[in-house]
Amino acid sequence: MTRWGKTLPAALAAVLCAGPAFAQETGIDSGDTAWMLTSTALVLLMTIPGLALFYAGMVRKKTVLATMMQSFFMAALIAIVWMVAGYSLAFTNGNAYIGDFSRLFLSGLAESWDKPFVMGAGLESAATNTIPETVFIMFQMTFAIITPALAVGAVADRMRFSALVLFMILWSLLVYAPIAHWVWHPAGWIAVLGAADFAGGTVVHINAGVAGLVLALVMGKRVGFGSENMSPYNLGLAVIGASLLWVGWFGFNAGSAAAAGPRAGMAMLVTMIAAATATLSWTFAEWISKGKPSVLGAISGAIAGLVAITPASGFVLPGAALIIGLIAGVVCFWGATGLKHALGYDDSLDAFGVHGIGGIVGALLTGLLAYGPLTATADAPGGTVVGGLALFMNQVYAVVATIVFTAVATFILAKIVDAVVVLRVNEEEEREGLDVVLHGESLG
């Protein structure tokens, strides 16, 4: 069940608005395009500088720059990977599991650049949009960028840069692209199955969280983990980062409506409500259990809420968002504290604790709380995404499939890359810090 199908009514509207004569010529709507261009900028803002700051704000002084570099470089690296093959593998028809090579190097745009984008052209489940394909490619690219950038937070302070580069090229093509195809392409098996993921709870967050956890397990704990003081050097950076993630998330979720209409409005509203509620629930949970409401707790809660509402954002009403945020804040608090310490792995920046767990919570609750009328279409007046047992089971299925596939594939890729270039720096380098060791720079 791709959200892009949802854009049909909007497209229709635009066409109507344009008037027949004009419609033949182009169904591109300037308002929808304006919003999608803006959303693209907002989602890129989430990774650079948003995520770069959020993560850099949680590490020690000696790896602040290296941590920023991971997010910044991902933006460049994955952009090219996406242009060369990732987009083609994710969003061309291909089969139920992966796209084809028809858009390698984005070939074909020379002809279609000024036409409205039709996803799955040729298929009867094809979805017409009111924006050009260039904008769709860009918007999706920013999603492909942030996913690996999120995952690497789990292994902060210890991964070699060359290993990161090699690993993420492979991971983006062999793990991210297929899953994006499954969920968001009308031909994808999860879309056909009828599981719903409006803006990427499965594709982005569960995917990143699980991949991060596997990397953390493969690479092992940081030197001194548990014994030495690893308190953040500059939490202020993390607050700025979380704030930009929050603001950028409006593009992430409301932009996933692919049009500047009522669905985008509702998506933005529920996104805000879930983020806010989770901030409160994490903060109060910590206040009660630890005695103080920490700043790191508040911003972590916000991210947890944003993650959890992501798959639901186009399908639920404000009341449901309140519930999703409330649960996500508490559960992710437990995931980043209780669970992690219980199991003893070193998911350094809680990529799994927040994104993995938050994504699962959101995906499942979407199955229960989706409000049909928001996805009503001509042929399905009751809505195409309706909360209930049926949808819930589909969600469970999609979540499990994603977790298993990501875990296995990530493990294999990690082992391969480790064999080729070695994943981790040695103890002395780790003590000295990645900034100076990997990049020959340091904070003054």
């Binding site: 949680m58 003081n229 690893m230 308190s231 953040p232 910590e286 630890k290 103080k292 920490s294 790191l296 707790g297 972590s300 980043a336 504290t337 209780g338 992690k340 310490h341 809680d350 604790g353």
Partner: protein
């Protein structure tokens, strides 16, 4: 000459400086340090990881004075830095064999 090294609470610094001026002390050197002692710090929590902050921010004042002035300088500092609460700090006196003012080359008492 004596080097008086005082570890004090940061917010007492200005008072200490003012207390020394009347004694004719023309200069001193200050550094930010962290102190461990009887005074206990807060506990910091980051995503469930608790760190007990055993080191508290202090200021180290180093001032070199002529031997005859040392006694009064120590008293002045002790008075100005005193709050009566635990963690007020310490004053140590060390002998200095020689002092030189870089600008003029003057030595010992004249160098101060």
């Amino acid at each position: 000459m004596k080097l008086i090294m005082a570890i004090i609470k940061p917010f007492r610094l200005d008072d200490v400086r003012e207390a020394l001026t009347p004694l004719g002390v023309q200069g001193l050197t200050v550094s930010e340090v962290k102190g461990f002692g009887r005074q206990k710090g807060q506990t910091e929590i980051y995503r469930g990881a608790e760190y007990h902050v055993s080191f508290l921010p202090k200021v180290k004042v180093e001032v070199v004075v002529t031997a005859d002035l040392a006694e009064r300088a120590v008293e002045a500092i002790a008075k100005a830095a005193h709050t009566g609460k635990i963690g007020d700090g310490k004053i140590f006196v060390i002998d200095i064999e020689r002092a030189v003012r870089i600008r003029t080359g003057e030595t010992d008492a004249e160098a101060l």
